[in-house]
């Protein structure tokens, strides 16, 4: 057991976290203006865009993975880390956009208008008024996106292959261990994943409740 632990290859975890970190960061900057636009828009195309955004939540990962495989084949992105990042961004898109949009929509419209009346542009209003007032939604968006990417499996299986250090993330590593019936490693990897996920979620809930106790997020 101890020998297994000391020889444990941690690179799949590092890769999982790297993928989740890059995806969350990129998605945040892409989703922020988009979620803001959706929250403020009264356009007739809004339901169409919302449906498109939510699509990855209901599509089987294999369907998404298949399309990515077809497209990435043309641009030589299959079995690369960049390919994984792009696929993860699209796959986790609704998890970032929806909490942000919900947060923006729950804001007092008069508060945003007060900022416009003070002569501030939409961009400044978004940055200095809207965003700081949706902290719980922002935190939810970041954490859910991050965790969702850590837990990603189906899409990566389709387009990632299992190249160590490049596309072999933790979930894929566990799958391979089970396939070769190396159950003791699979146990350790799974337990680590379980613990990390639980600690991340626990800290979010502890933070959220502590904020509520002191009278909200300010």
């Amino acid at each position: 057991m101890i020998e297994t632990l000391t020889h444990l290859d941690l690179s799949p975890f590092v890769l999982s976290f790297k993928l989740a970190g890059v995806t969350t960061l990129l998605l945040f900057f892409v989703s922020l203006p988009f979620a803001w636009y959706l929250s403020q828009s009264r356009s007739k195309t809004k339901p169409f865009m919302e449906a498109l955004t939510a699509l990855p939540m209901v599509l089987p990962p294999s369907v998404l993975g298949f399309y990515f495989l077809m497209i990435f084949n043309q641009i030589e992105l299959n079995f690369t880390f960049t390919g994984l990042v792009i696929a993860s961004c699209l796959y986790s898109f609704p998890f970032m956009v929806q909490p942000l949009q919900g947060g923006f929509e729950s804001l007092n419209k008069n508060m945003l208008e007060a900022s416009y009346l003070a002569g501030k542009s939409k961009f400044k209003t978004l940055l200095f008024v809207a965003l700081p007032n949706i902290k719980p939604a922002l935190l939810t968006a970041l954490i859910i996106t991050f965790s969702h990417t850590i837990g990603e499996f189906g899409v990566i299986l389709m387009i990632g292959g299992s190249i160590p250090g490049e596309t072999k993330v933790a979930s894929i590593a566990i799958y391979e261990m089970v396939e070769i019936m190396d159950y003791s490693s699979a146990h350790i990897y799974s337990l680590i994943m379980l613990l990390i996920s639980f600690v991340v979620l626990l800290s979010v809930y502890v933070f959220t409740h502590s904020q509520k106790r002191v009278g909200g997020f300010h």
Binding site: N108, M111, A114, S115, A118, P132, G215
Partner: protein, 271 residues
Amino acid sequence: MLQIAIEKELHGANGLLNLELKCDIEQGKFVAIMGKSGSGKTTLLRILAGLEEAQGSIVMKEATWLGAKKPLAVQKRNIGFLFQDYALFENMSVEENLLFVKKDKKFANELLELTELTSLKKESVTRLSGGQKQRVALCRAMMNRPQLLLLDEPLSALDSVMRLKLQDEILKMHRAFGMTSIMVSHDASEIYRLASRVLILENGKIVKDGTPKEVMMENTKGLEGELLALNEQNIATVLLGHQLLEVTFSAQEAKGLKVGQKITLAMRKTL
């Protein structure tokens, strides 16, 4: 001079309403707008602020706000706006709310002193009472030294003591900075204290326009009550709602009055 001639179709709770307003407001005046809910009062303020679109024209001094090819953006109109729900930036302290509008610490401090808020300037606005919040909102609205101050029932959520205090402060600001102010209000005493002109809106049109005395006295239809007793000195006891009132009639007025009869009391114009 603020020249307003606007039209807008509103789809409200009472069906379709055609807002059609035309009036000129002199620089530096304090104008009150009264009217039933759904008569278009708030919409008028929002159109003036540039928060809602409309047809027609709005000209403020030399500048065309509405009526040119493109309406002037809300950011460029230099307007102070007081909302009923204060609409403060909740992520900021009292002082930061003011400085967000304009980075002028000296002026912010002056305003806070004027409204007796100096001791609260580092406090988060979420911890303030309603009256304090509206005073912060008033200071914030003044930070850009607006040429037009719009007030949308700013005091209706406050108790009567706080309302009086804030009326004083609004008046103080109005006089100190000489801007034109337009306030939507339902409170006749507030209008009497603050405004020099009253517009009454009904179904999107101005139906009355004059000084508070002219408009609101005409508006008084009298108080209907029940005559409970009438003694030999012609002193009548009248029930007005749940309130008893003694009224002295002249012999001529008392003639023909019968106990139990409904009568209307109106005040004579002596002011």
